[in-house]
């Protein structure tokens, strides 16, 4: 059984956000919820400042606090290491979200995609309402609905339950890459089996010095970051004198 992991090459990543957009359309992610997200940081003091960009997603931790804390096993581990969620078992206690050290779990506070459920027309009899548009496009709630998401998880999660990245388990099952990996124009995301020493993921982790987010917590995240983009240079000197 493979153990899936992802390597994100920060030197290749240009911060375009294509991963997030691809994720939204693949997984029918509602507004305000981000399965694929980012951390941006500014270091230094003006005018000596730098901007840092770290793409984020569920870390599919080996010792996942969300899984340990879920009272109904709605949040659970698959044999391939993916941290999966079953909304049909979720009681909406939000303990996984409370417990996640990475801020990657979100709660459906309302019926998802409220804007697309709106039946009001901007010009009565002249324009479609958002809900009509979604129906005409043959979608389910949203016009760009992806029915493939339904294969392993409700395509659109109901109100009152949490949701998060699943490493696109429905695609991975079919031998496809997670959609964020597929969509990355800079090929900054590398996905594969970390238990296979010949996988690209294993090779990269041996070649570079990876880091993981909040590693000291012992959660064993399976999203690794390698390299860091920094075009800055400086004049060598003896002790800066």
């Amino acid at each position: 059984m493979p153990r899936y992991a992802m390597v994100i090459d920060l030197q290749r990543c240009v911060g375009c956000g294509a991963c997030s957009i691809a994720c939204r359309s693949e997984n029918n992610v509602p507004d305000g919820i981000y399965w694929s997200n980012k951390i941006t940081e500014t270091s230094g003091t003006f005018p000596n400042v730098r901007y840092h960009y770290i793409p984020t997603l569920c870390n599919h931790c080996a010792n996942a606090p969300c899984v340990r804390g879920c009272p109904t096993q709605a949040m659970h581990k698959l044999p391939n290491g993916i941290t999966m969620h079953n909304p049909n078992k979720c009681i909406g206690c939000k303990y996984c979200e409370f417990n996640c050290p990475y801020g990657v779990i979100y709660f459906n506070w309302r019926k998802p995609h409220p804007a697309w459920r709106d039946e009001s027309q901007m010009i009565k009899g002249g324009t479609f309402s958002p809900a009509e548009e979604a129906r005409k496009a043959g979608g389910k709630v949203v016009p760009y609905y992806n029915p493939e998401r339904d294969e392993t998880l409700p395509g659109i999660r109901p109100k009152g339950v949490v949701e998060k990245c699943t490493f696109c388990d429905h695609r991975v099952k079919k031998g496809l890459l997670p959609h964020c990996v597929q969509a990355c124009p800079a090929d900054a995301r590398i996905f594969g089996d970390i238990s296979d020493p010949n996988s690209e993921v294993s090779k990269l982790l041996g070649k570079f010095r990876p880091f993981r987010l909040r590693e000291q917590l012992g959660t064993e995240p399976h999203v690794f970051y390698i390299r860091d983009f920094n075009p800055a240079h400086y004049q060598p000197s003896k002790g800066g004198v």
Binding site: K38, G69, T72, K94, Y95, P101, G103, R214
Partner: protein, 380 residues
């Protein structure tokens, strides 16, 4: 209790209004979702959860107090035992109402039974409190039937005592096991919750027994007066213990320079305070302790009602303070969507849930007091 009819029906009317308001809120929450709360993906747990913690812990405290006569054989407390068991049931039911309306989907609760996760502190908390509720109800039924000392009745007393002792520890561990939130992490929260349970349980016991005598316009019997003196003593000792614990906690939090604690401090005084000491600690712990420590004051029923009432308000505020201060900062990428610190004030729906939970407990107290002979004690 012998209140005038008018007062009694006004009281029931107020409770009825609170229940109707709460049911309206419940209906909207079930149909529209929890966006009606002033919560978001940073402040996840708010007033309804704080109220649940408060009522559940108070119920545990009442059960522990009831264990004095029912488990440890302190016969002197037998005249208040049945009432304590009933108050514990009613208070816990109020707590369950509050957490039920905090959950996103209570219709999935069946999975707590058919798909349990034994490594989850929430599961254990829910399980133990459910056991406590059922055992307390059966125990009350036995007491109501006059069965105080049969093996079954004693066994129920023992089980409810153990449940009431462990349940607060589990509430504490729900927080104490969150690695992501340093300000909660560790065994301290469990010990704190147990102490707070004993404190608020004792406060409610004292407040209730004295308040119903006051409302009913009758003087306490000599036995009852003596029991209240003992309860007041336990109350004062517990207050002292919680004060020491709280001051040590404040000192450690103030001295720590871990960023999470620095952030926590910024929001740890939602109700204001003097120096590092919060208002609710001043008014809800220190002032009642001073009132109860002065011999001339502590003998008065009025002072006892005031001190225990302040503690009942103060402990709720303290639970809310701890709950919110640890959540006020967005974690990880959520800082992209939310401000550096997120503020909170309960929405009307959260207040309605609060009112419903309290009203359910008060309605049960009222009906129990009228119909269930809560002063019954075994004949020796």
């Amino acid at each position: 209790m012998n209140p005038s009819k008018g007062l009694y029906f006004t009281w029931l009317g107020l409770i009825g209004l609170a229940i109707i308001g709460g049911l309206f809120a419940a209906l909207r929450l079930f149909t529209e979702g929890h966006y009606l709360f002033d919560t978001n993906d940073v402040i996840l747990w708010s007033l309804p959860l704080g109220v649940y913690i408060y009522l559940a812990l108070t119920s545990s405290g009442l059960t522990l107090l009831a264990s004095l006569p029912l488990v440890f054989g302190v016969k002197k407390f037998e005249p208040i035992a049945k009432r304590l068991v009933f108050l514990a049931i009613a208070t816990l039911l109020g707590g369950f109402v509050s957490i039920g309306l905090e959950l996103g989907d209570i219709f999935h609760m069946i999975y707590i039974l058919i798909s349990p996760n034994f490594s989850s502190p929430i599961w254990w908390m829910g399980f133990i409190y459910s056991v406590e509720l059922v055992v307390l109800i059966v125990k009350f039924w036995r007491l109501h039937a006059g069965d105080w000392h049969s093996p079954l009745s004693r066994a129920l007393g023992h089980i409810s005592f153990i449940a009431a002792l462990v349940a607060p520890l589990m509430i504490g561990s729900v927080f104490g096991l969150t690695e992501s939130r340093v300000t909660y992490f560790g065994p301290v929260m469990s010990i704190y919750c147990l102490l707070m349970a004993i404190l608020s349980g004792t406060a409610l016991c004292l407040f209730y027994n004295l308040a119903i005598a006051k409302i009913g316009g009758y003087a306490l019997s000599e036995t009852k007066d003596s029991i209240c003196n003992d309860i007041a003593r336990i109350f004062t000792y517990t207050l002292g213990t919680v004060i020491v614990f709280t001051l040590v906690k404040v000192a450690i939090e103030s001295a720590a320079v871990i960023p999470d604690f620095l952030n926590y401090r910024r929001y740890a005084q939602a109700f204001g305070g003097i120096g590092k000491i919060n208002t609710e600690v001043l008014l809800g712990l220190l002032l009642p302790f001073v009132l109860m420590a002065i011999p001339a004051l502590r003998a008065s029923h009025g002072t006892r009602i005031l001190a225990s009432g302040l503690v009942l308000l103060g402990t709720l505020a303290m639970h809310m303070e701890i709950l919110l201060a640890g959540q006020s900062r967005p974690i990880g990428p959520k800082a992209e969507q939310y401000p550096q610190y997120v503020s909170y004030f309960p929405s009307i729906y959260e207040w309605l849930v609060f009112l419903l939970a309290v009203a359910v407990a008060l309605l049960l107290y009222t009906l129990g007091e009228r119909y269930l002979r809560l002063e019954a004690a075994p004949e020796h």
